[in-house]
């Protein structure tokens, strides 16, 4: 059963408030908000999009019927919002170019990440990136701090083997391609550095 919010003739911000209440109570299905001016139309669309709903507008004479429903994007947007970002670190250096600069930037990156609250949900080290999670790394203390604050730290097992570093792992868990792909495809935002 659709929920209808009749916001015709109501002034801003009432159409937004009433639609928000209806959406918060919505189990499934749609909310249809009916408005008759462009301010209310645009504001209700903004609200719906900010709450990661899908919107379809039907124009009926002087009125706009705004259909707002939960689409597939809903879960994805929520995860983004609450779970932060998954970082894939594919090298021990940040960026291409001078390796000394790349090393400094990487240190600065992890330090900054520790200062940003829950920005990251997981950090995955691939290829020479595993040098950062193993003995001799300059960022171990930052990674420990991140792990303490709930960030999942994963190092690629094949890569640790290849560089002969498996015994040297200092932080987080050894992982495999299956788990890593699972993380990358889970719907969280993924950033590769």
């Amino acid at each position: 059963m659709d929920n209808v919010v009749d916001a015709r003739g109501l002034t801003c911000p009432q159409p937004v408030i009433l639609t928000k209440k209806a959406l918060e109570q919505l189990q499934d299905g749609y909310v249809v908000t009916v408005v008759n001016d462009r301010t209310a139309l645009e504001n209700v669309i903004k609200l719906a999009k900010s709450m990661a709903y899908e919107v379809d507008v039907e124009e009926k004479g002087e009125e706009y019927h705004i259909h707002i429903g939960k689409g597939v994007d809903m879960t994805r947007a929520d995860l983004d919002h609450y779970d932060g970002v998954t970082f894939v670190i594919k090298s021990q250096f940040l960026g291409e170019g001078d390796s000394e600069l790349g090393r400094t930037l990487m240190k600065s990156f992890f330090y900054t990440l520790t200062q940003m609250g829950r920005a990251a949900s997981a950090i995955i080290f691939m290829n020479s990136g595993v040098a950062l999670s193993t003995q001799g790394s300059e960022v171990i203390e930052h990674l420990h701090a991140l792990e303490q604050s709930g960030v999942e730290i994963l190092s690629c097992g094949t890569c640790l083997d290849f560089y002969n570093l498996k015994q040297m792992l200092m932080v987080g868990q050894v992982s495999n391609m299956y788990n890593i792909l699972d993380k990358i495809c889970s719907g969280n935002k993924v950033i590769t550095l």
Partner: protein, 306 residues
């Protein structure tokens, strides 16, 4: 005696030393606290005198109030207004009250200025740097307050900004010899800037990344708590404004949104801005350098990032 008009207030030349500035403005409540509402409405009305480089002499209360309502609330509104009038150095000399279902409060203000030193919106020159003395976002936060969606940090910051007199900003620009200013109100940043462009025959460039924005404003705008005036302003102006594609809809809405008791938008010649900035510092004025006027041409505004 000569007579001229400008957007912010009426100006009437009495003699070679003195011109009268007269203005009237009143508002419906945008915050719950009556004392703070009184302060904001008074600061908003006094602002027109400051925008013209004058100083206020006398003020009269304009009150609409339901006759059955709590008279204690009204006296708090008037107390807020009286405190701001006092802070401005003006004297409250009277007023008038009308029975009305929705409360409204404001002032009629009379100020003076030297006729040769009236600051208008017609005096912007190509190359002038543009300064703004208060953050943007009061209109959006006021809309959110009506919907009970604004957080305490946003409410507090917006009230502080709206209740702040433009007195110090005015003193600073007068000392720095500024010729062009206006105050930000219903037409929003871009609307008031367009007025200046039309009146002065210049174009303007806005550096969007330089703009100071009140806390939570972006989140609230993204939720659709955008006042109707923003859409009207956009409708009216958008054909003459070019906005960098990389700027999102939220910052566009903020630039088009009406402001209540906004800051002064000031132009200063590129070789004199140091004087203005040091005057701002002397008078503890919060400011951003957020744009530049460009040479004649089709009257229009371009908004870039920086």
């Amino acid at each position: 005696m000569g007579f001229s008009t400008a957007d912010d207030a009426g100006v009437f030349k009495l003699n070679s030393d003195t011109a009268l500035i007269q203005t009237v403005d009143f508002l419906t409540p945008m915050v719950d606290d009556p004392y703070l509402f009184g302060q904001i409405a008074a600061a908003n009305a006094l602002s027109d005198v400051y925008a013209m480089g004058g100083y206020p002499l006398t003020a009269m209360n304009i009150v609409c109030y339901p006759k059955c309502d709590d008279i204690g609330v009204l006296s708090e509104i008037l107390r807020g207004g009286a405190d701001k009038i006092k802070e401005s150095g003006a004297i409250l000399v009277g007023g008038h009250t009308v029975d009305d279902n929705e409360p409204k409060y404001g002032l009629s203000v009379t100020g003076i200025v030297h006729p040769e030193r009236v600051i208008t919106n017609q005096a912007a020159q190509p190359g002038d740097r543009i300064y703004l003395t208060k953050p943007l976002g009061t209109g959006i936060i006021a809309t959110a307050i009506k919907g009970e969606m604004a957080g305490p940090e946003a409410v507090e910051a917006a009230i502080k900004s709206m209740a702040l007199l433009n007195k110090n900003a005015c003193d600073a620009m007068v000392e720095a010899g500024v010729k062009m200013a206006t105050d930000l109100t219903g037409f929003g940043l871009l609307g008031h800037l367009m007025e200046i462009c039309d009146a002065s025959g210049v174009r303007a460039r806005v550096f969007a990344d330089k703009l100071e924005i009140l806390p939570e404003t972006e989140r609230l705008a993204a939720m659709g708590l955008v006042p109707e005036g923003a859409y009207n302003n956009r409708e009216y102006l958008q054909d003459r404004i070019r906005i960098d594609d990389s700027l999102n809809a939220v910052i566009r809405d903020i630039m088009y949104s009406p402001e209540t008791s906004g800051g002064l938008l000031i132009a200063v010649a590129a070789d004199r801005y140091g004087e203005l900035e040091s005057a701002f510092r002397r008078h503890s004025v919060d400011w951003v350098f957020m744009g530049q006027f460009l040479e004649d041409g089709p009257s229009q505004i371009e908004v870039v990032r920086s």
